[in-house]
């Protein structure tokens, strides 16, 4: 990467962050709710992107981890405990369950793994619905309080949106560091070729479990934000379709790309809202859009960009080669 493009990238990043902070200031309540939801879903999708995009393990259980986090937050904060405690519980719980759920991944791959995780997803939904003593069953938990952050109340939509955005920023930085660390490289090695990774001395067992556990824990983080965002939860949002939606977000955005989940979540959360003017047709159009995108570019939106950049780089390289060749030929 040349230094010019690097500066352009940094400028673009700062512009996007500034826009995310400034533009929503005059949004209405609903607009802020949707944007906050985008931030929350991006965190959950980033977790799945680690499991799927970097470590190559298909999981259909991410929605269940969002549910676990959300219930942990709802149950604990309505009992008067602070959200940060709920966050701790959710992260530890999801990490542990994710670790255990990773064990089947050591034995089975691809579609089998998809179904083990699918089964877990359905089991979690049944627990949310049936264990009334803990989750209040189908009646759900209402009046979930929003937290105070550093002495600021986040009851109003705008401060809570900033809270979600800040959480997203922290998670993004942590993830940025993680995938550039030796761990991240080990995950990629695992995805590209498990046998070769093993022969390079990577403990594939441990890293597979770790990818599942960290990815799941991020699902739990998203859940602890989701509960105070909606302030009411019941089992329905955490059924299998949330897991499928999250998987779709990762693939549509571009799995294995750092910014894939940001784009994927934006499409899954915002596109249906933009299409709302089409009334009942919006989910249909959304489905068609997703299918067309995947037919055109199975690596998602960032896949298109990636291909375009690669093409330009190849062209630039051949142009350089052509120049060099002509100089060689004209050289005495």
């Amino acid at each position: 990467m040349t230094s010019a493009t690097k500066y352009w990238r940094i400028a673009l990043g700062i512009a996007v962050i500034a826009a995310l902070i400034i533009v929503p200031m005059n949004f209405n309540r609903y607009g802020l709710y949707i944007l906050s939801q985008w931030a929350v879903m991006t965190i959950a999708a980033m977790g799945l992107n680690l499991t799927l995009g970097y470590a190559g393990q298909v999981s259909l259980a991410q929605g269940a981890f969002v549910g676990i986090g959300a219930y942990a937050a709802a149950i604990m904060t309505t009992q008067g405990m602070p959200l940060i405690a709920a966050l701790g519980v959710a992260v530890v719980l999801c990490f542990a369950i994710g670790w255990i759920l990773g064990y089947p991944a050591l034995r089975v791959q691809h579609h089998y793994l998809a179904f083990v995780t699918l089964a877990f997803s359905t089991l979690a939904f049944l627990v949310f619905r049936n264990e009334d003593w803990l989750t209040k069953g189908i009646y759900g938990i209402s009046n979930i309080p929003r937290p105070n952050v550093l002495g600021f109340a986040t009851n109003r939509p705008l401060p809570f949106y900033y809270f979600c955005l800040g959480s997203l920023a922290i998670v993004s930085l942590a993830m940025w560091w993680l995938i550039r660390s030796p761990w991240g490289r080990a995950f990629v090695a695992l995805r590209e070729n498990p046998v070769r990774a093993l022969s390079l001395g990577i403990d594939t067992r441990r890293y597979t479990l770790m990818a599942f556990a960290i990815g799941s824990a991020l699902g739990g983080v998203a859940g602890t934000l989701y509960a105070p965002l909606t302030q009411y939860i019941d089992p329905v949002p955490f059924n299998l379709s949330l897991s499928l939606d999250l998987l779709m977000m990762v693939i549509v955005g571009g799995s294995g790309f750092f910014f894939g989940p940001f784009l994927g979540a934006a499409i899954a959360v915002l596109l249906p809202e933009w299409l709302r003017f089409t009334q009942g047709y919006y989910l249909m159009l959304y489905a068609v859009a997703v299918m067309l995108l995947l037919i055109y570019s199975p690596t998602g939106i960032l896949g298109i960009l990636d291909r375009y950049l690669a093409e330009r780089r190849t062209k630039a390289a051949s142009a350089l080669r052509a120049v060099a060749k002509s100089r060689l030929e004209t050289a005495p």
């Binding site: 089964a119 089991l123 249909m284 489905a287």
Partner: protein
């Protein structure tokens, strides 16, 4: 004990329907590596096609024929040409995601263009009861059981006794070798898509009178069929049949003896146990791992 007999018959009746759906699922996987997450919606749609034909004034028998033909056109040919063919070279996962999107699209289309309410659907088996061994068994269960068994036997005969069936199996096992020995692989793959569409239309015809026609009715059914296919063996038609029957029976027994709340969990628990100890399924062949 006699209660058990009722449960078994009802379980086998739903189980044979699961088997029909699971067999189609298995066939698609074998011949074209397609995991169709919209398989449940594929069962939902034909009932609505038939209802639409009846609303337009067609008698029931004509509606059934139209429904099956349209289903083969849309869910067989259309599905293959418009979605699977362009995506197949991209690998399993993007295609699986695309079928999820297809499932959303189909649900929403039915909700939008037909009705969000559940509609009653006429049964092809007359209502009534039959005395058998001193027990009263509903004709509906028996009729569904008999029809589904007939289809499953027919399909097994087609696959194992006819030359087309052998060519299909060859395609499923190894397309490259099949092509070398002169099997028209492309035509066989298309045939499996048409057979899948036919099977889901039949399953739709059999199950909709029991559970009503509703845009969301595919979700549970699709999941049951997936579980059946995996439990029985992802790469074996007879495995899918056995898995379907097993899941149907286990589901009914669990509802009666375990708890109605967690009935959906019992087949899933079965699934997990089987995947962990026999990943290839009860009757499946292990798939070679490629490096």
């Amino acid at each position: 004990m006699s209660n058990l007999l009722d449960l078994l018959v009802a379980g086998l009746a739903t189980g044979t329907i699961y088997a029909l759906v699971a067999v189609g699922f298995t066939l698609l996987w074998q011949t074209s590596q397609t995991i169709n997450f919209a398989q449940g919606e594929f069962v939902m749609l034909p009932a609505f096609l038939m209802l639409a034909a009846m609303h337009a004034g067609a008698p029931f028998w004509l509606a059934i024929i139209l429904g099956i033909l349209l289903s083969m056109l849309l869910l067989g040919l259309g599905f293959k040409l418009l979605l699977v063919d362009p995506m197949l070279r991209h690998g399993v996962l993007p295609l699986a995601i695309a079928t999820m999107a297809l499932a959303i699209g189909m649900k929403e289309a039915v909700k939008q263009f037909f009705s969000a309410e559940a509609s009653p659907f006429p049964s092809i088996v007359p209502a009534g009861d039959l005395s058998l061994l001193g027990r009263v068994i509903s004709l509906q269960s028996l009729g569904v059981l008999a029809l589904a068994i007939a289809v499953v036997i027919g399909l097994t005969l087609l696959l194992n006794r006819t030359s087309i069936g052998h060519q299909m199996q060859a395609t499923a096992q190894n397309p490259t070798v099949a092509r070398i020995i002169g099997v028209p692989v492309e035509r066989m793959i298309l045939l499996t898509f048409l057979i899948n569409a036919f099977l889901v239309a039949l399953a739709s015809l059999l199950i909709t009178p029991i559970y009503l026609a509703k845009f969301s009715s595919g979700e549970v059914l699709g999941q049951a069929a997936f579980i059946a296919a995996i439990v029985g063996g992802f790469n074996q038609v007879r495995g899918a049949i056995a898995g379907g029957l097993l899941i149907g029976v286990v589901d009914n027994l669990a509802a009666a003896y375990v708890s109605t709340q967690y009935r959906a969990a019992v087949p899933l628990a079965l699934l997990i146990v089987i995947i962990l100890f026999r990943p290839q399924g009860l009757l499946g062949r292990p798939e070679e791992r490629t490096v």
